[in-house]
Amino acid sequence: MKTSQKFFLLFGLVFAFLVVFSILVYFRILDRYFSRLLLWGAIQSIIAISLNLITGFTGQLSLGQAGFVGLGAYTTAILTTQGWPFLFALLPSLAIAGLAGFLVGWPSLRLRGDYLAIMTLGFGEIIRSLIINLPDLTGGASGFKDIPGFHPDGDLNRLFLFLGIFISFFLVLFLVVNLIRSSYGRAIISVREDEIAARSMGVDIQLVKIGAFTLSALIAGWGGALQAPFLNYLAPSSYDFLKSVDFVVIIVLGGMGSITGTILAAFGLTYLQEWLRFLGDYRMVIYPLLMILMMLFRPQGLMGGREWTLETFIRKKISDSKVGNHG
């Protein structure tokens, strides 16, 4: 299939999805609960993809991703409560999150594995500490209330939220997938596979790591920025170490280095969490147990580093029809 054909097919699918679900959401055919979960799953996916970029693809374990999310969320909240329209607030949010990623990435250049992970943990905690200790700006430990949505009208707000979040989701997907499937992606993966060899093949590993950190933080901040109008309320406890671990669990379950896996796991866990809510505190026992069992018995995750691509579906259709599999 030619590239331009592929592109139009994908674009068509995305467009159809957006139109169909916009109608479902606006006219409340989809119930509120379900659509909230759908939207939250998309936001989680965006953040999880950002983590997968730095950890799954570049091989740098980040335990502080929630910090970048928090920066994006709070910056947007602060600006929109001051009257800024969301799109205008988005840019500084991305910039601040990206800058933070750069500041974290830079000293991390000289660190390996565990040390790097701990450093990111430290930075995440410092960001959270900052949020708590600037109560005039952020509302401090009691949280940031009354953040405006996209529109005063409830129905339109829901519609715009849906569009805003899912367009962001597809944009991030487009960005990351295209990056990975290019020479830059290969350079990133080479750093994960063997830094010393990558260096010797001319790859500037410092640049790759810093770039990956910055971009990853920026995308995480994007996810955070979307949280502000969606939740209308932010609390610093949502951006702590345990939240960072949540995202690590997602990419581990889905399979590090697999974007498909990340998305499936993000949505899956979002629904699972809701479904398991009746378990109450036992939920927080099952979660880590799952993590440990995954690491012991299927560390490569659900997808094992593989992806579902357009080819996967087309080839399946062809082979099905060839062998005469009916229906």
Partner: protein
Amino acid sequence: MTLLAQVLQQVVNGLALGSIYALISLGYTMVYGIVRLINFAHGDLLTIGAFIAYFFILAVGINPITLTLAMVLAMVITPLFGYSLERFAYRPLREAPRINSLITAIGASILIENGLRVIPFIGTEFRRFPTLTLNQWVLMQNLDEHGQIIKVTVSQTQLLVFAVAALLMLVLVLIVDKTKTGKAMRATSYDMKAAALMGINVNRIVSITFIIGSALAAAAGILFASSYPQIEPYMGIMPGLKAFVAAVLGGIGSIPGAMLGGLILGLAETLTKGFISSQLSDAVVFLILIIILMVRPSGLLGQTIKEKV
């Protein structure tokens, strides 16, 4: 004079807290030195130790003898958890990529914390850990410019902390330096494969390391609970994290480093709490972490290991 007294008081407090951190730190550093794993669940062993002592004392009442017995009991039972953790969660992953072990360790930590919460007789509430007495001894006393008495005191609990910590650290150093097991531990931490070739039962040595570390953490848990008498399942998170920073500060893998790091961190935290702001004391700890990782990742007393190309 008042300022000096305040500083000295905080120094006393800081050293007490630091001694507790040092005990926890030792567990981190020994485990990392041997299996290159940051045992995130280590701080939670502290919690387990504290709860074991709590229930024991609740049953038999509090006096110096029962407190000692409680400590011994905790130091015997908690290592069972530490041992199981290593045996069933970490050992299978010894050859796997490090990120897998890290994730497992984080999972284990969360599992223990929340596991404790769902146990019916523990639950989520805060409980008061019984304390012996609130006696205080005066180290220094003087009059300030208004004729008020200002003093620098050390409490009985703090003395207990100093005594127990010093004793345990001494025992540890004796074990590591003077016994055959200790020598085997040092050899294994230097080069596990070579140690195995020399006939050392590496698995046994790793288990012993975890057991010793757990015992120290349990003792630290009781000392911590005595000093800050509120216990609950999440109590080990922060001290655990901070003790980890202390281990990194001192040089992870270095036993004297862990002791030094613990003391320094305890001082830093208390001085910040006393003179700057108590909310920033946590941030200061992490700032220290970042700075040490940037300036001297091998820590104050650690050594750098180069990778063979």
